[in-house]
Symmetry: C2
């Protein structure tokens, strides 16, 4: 990947309220994406889309949804990035894909945020090469919202897989970017930030974590967040912090372990309710309450990893996202677009970089 | 910690069926430990204990449980390792603690397996210094049983926190030790072993993981296990593998994330059942089924991390273990003692070390 940083795309006035949508490359195809757009339009009448992909197919799908065509401009892209394509290969030969085209519309300033259900590695590679890294950012990160005991119902965790490595300075950047995201995505004035580590005192020995701990402590006050220090895996769904900072390897394992565990408990619960005639009746009686629970921990509701640290915002939806999942990712993209998130993040990183340099 | 390895303790014939119990240092004190011993005796009449701690206190607690004194020899230890004690400090000044005394009884061959609810770091340090590492093992590991979709109901995961680092050779040793544990602890003839990694192809780049992948593949056939290659966090509660191999940092984060998520979902479920009058009735009707579910995912049932790679077996119970938790840890220790686990593990590591050296 390139190490170059570059100036921001300058969104034209027309870009306000315009999202760039990669309609191909998800597991459920363009049908699910267009259905998700139609669902999002119902709650956000002002939203507009540039939709990238196979034009005849997309035109037909959009025409079927009443009123949707008023919100959409379709831009033809002949190719699709497959889930199995290697990022390096997409960089070489992917210029005609819907993914490339979708990122390009943010680069050119026609849209504010890009949304794609495609291959994560390829999307990160294309985003890096076209949007470039923010000045001061070495490694971009993917941030997600995680169901938690907090009043907002969520924590922010990053990085969950943009890069398998992170040194102390990267972790400091993640703390700053996570703070911006919690402020704009969760509406928190003064997020509490924690650095993920393991429990025993003796083990708090990874050099980069100790160093990151001290550096994050130094920048916290000037950047409007509270640093609570080291946190553990058990705090990820907890209420001690709003932002959990870790490297992409650990974050990805934690994310998938948490998702797998929640799925496991849910399946066991289903089995428990099917076990006896009495429990089947109980399931009927409790149906509404259980639906609320299910909604609370439904990964589709929090669908969308956000790429942070680039000149422009990209939302990565789950590859298997259905209509509801796509709509959630689009709504997230919209709220980030409306809050001027890209500009705020850029300003924060620039200010912090300056103050860190002064401190050294 | 010492790098020396040493010869095995030679258990006398009298050691068969004898477990060494550190009765102090758990959060709930010696009452909970003695209650757990009494519970274990009911299901295993042949079991005997050497119980270490404050003799007058322990004698009184044991005397209260009918018949328990026939199973117990109490050995006085004046001091207790506190949860906040640093391992290095315990090594210097901890010779009179119940923990030290409990490990010593395995070292001297009086007992086969040691069980403690005390401070993990200190217990590992004392075990390392007194029992020494097995020849061929560089880093000992802590293995746990994790509730999963497998027919046995569990997977084995290691390391969950003995060390924050692991190089390729350590990971190979973990695969071998995990195989032994799955064979003796879960009764599996031919365990399936996976190496924990992150999802995207491009990210499969950590050098030590690639190297470990190839080395584990090489030793699998000769050591009676199937290597399924890389697995992800979602496979930890799944049914693709029986043994999950990872470094102690990642394993500890995954363990605590999984525990935290399960607790979170369980609490949300409780809230759902208290939400409405109908759902309260449902909770009553489903009570038996929900109890079964709760038991299935109850961490107390799988209480006990096992230290692997030492001359002798040590079971670390949760610090907060109650009567049921202590009994579970004791039962695990008993089954490892009965299967001659220490000797089998030693033989396996020795054979594999020889075959790896031959291959190089």
């Amino acid at each position: 990947m390139s190490d170059k940083t570059d100036s921001a795309p300058v969104p034209s006035k027309d870009a306000a309220g315009v999202l760039s949508i990669d309609a191909m490359g998800g597991d459920l195809g363009p049908e699910a994406v267009v259905a998700g757009l139609a669902r999002a339009v119902k709650s956000i009448p002002a939203i507009r889309f540039i939709v990238h992909g196979d034009k005849p197919v997309l035109d037909a799908l959009i025409a079927k949804r009443r009123g949707l065509s008023d919100h959409c401009t379709v831009r033809h892209a002949a190719d699709v990035v497959a889930m199995t394509d290697k990022p390096s290969q997409v960089l070489r030969t992917g210029k005609d894909t819907s993914m490339w085209s979708a990122v390009e519309a943010v680069k050119s300033g026609e849209a504010t945020v890009c949304v794609s259900c495609g291959n994560t590695g390829a999307l990160m590679a294309v985003s890096m090469i076209r949007l470039r890294k923010l000045p001061g950012v070495n490694r971009p990160a993917i941030a997600i919202l995680w169901p938690s005991r907090n009043p907002s119902g969520f924590n922010v965790m990053l990085d969950v897989g943009a890069d398998i490595r992170a040194d102390a300075d990267d972790l400091v950047q993640y703390a700053l970017m996570g703070t911006s995201y919690a402020r704009n995505g969760l509406g928190l004035d003064r997020p509490r930030v924690g650095l993920l580590n393991v429990g025993t005192e003796e083990n708090k020995g990874r050099t980069e974590l100790k160093e990151a701990h001290d550096k994050i402590e130094t920048v916290a006050a000037d950047n409007g967040f509270d640093f609570v220090g080291f946190v553990e895996g058990g705090d990820i769904p907890g209420d001690r912090v709003d932002v959990i900072v870790t490297d992409g390897f650990t974050g990805n394992v934690a994310l998938k372990t948490g998702e797998g565990t929640a799925r496991f408990v849910r399946d066991m619960l289903g089995e428990a309710f099917r076990a006896t005639p009495l429990s089947k009746i109980a399931a009927l009686l409790a149906m509404n309450s259980l639906k609320r629970l299910s909604k609370r921990i439904d990964p589709r509701r929090v669908n969308g990893g956000v790429f942070l640290g680039l000149n422009g915002t990209v939302v990565k939806s789950h590859g298997s996202a259905d209509e509801m999942g796509v709509a959630a990712a689009v709504q997230l993209a919209w709220s980030l677009s409306e809050s001027g998130f890209s500009d705020r993040l850029r300003a924060r990183v620039a200010a912090a970089t300056a103050s860190l340099e002064k401190a050294e």
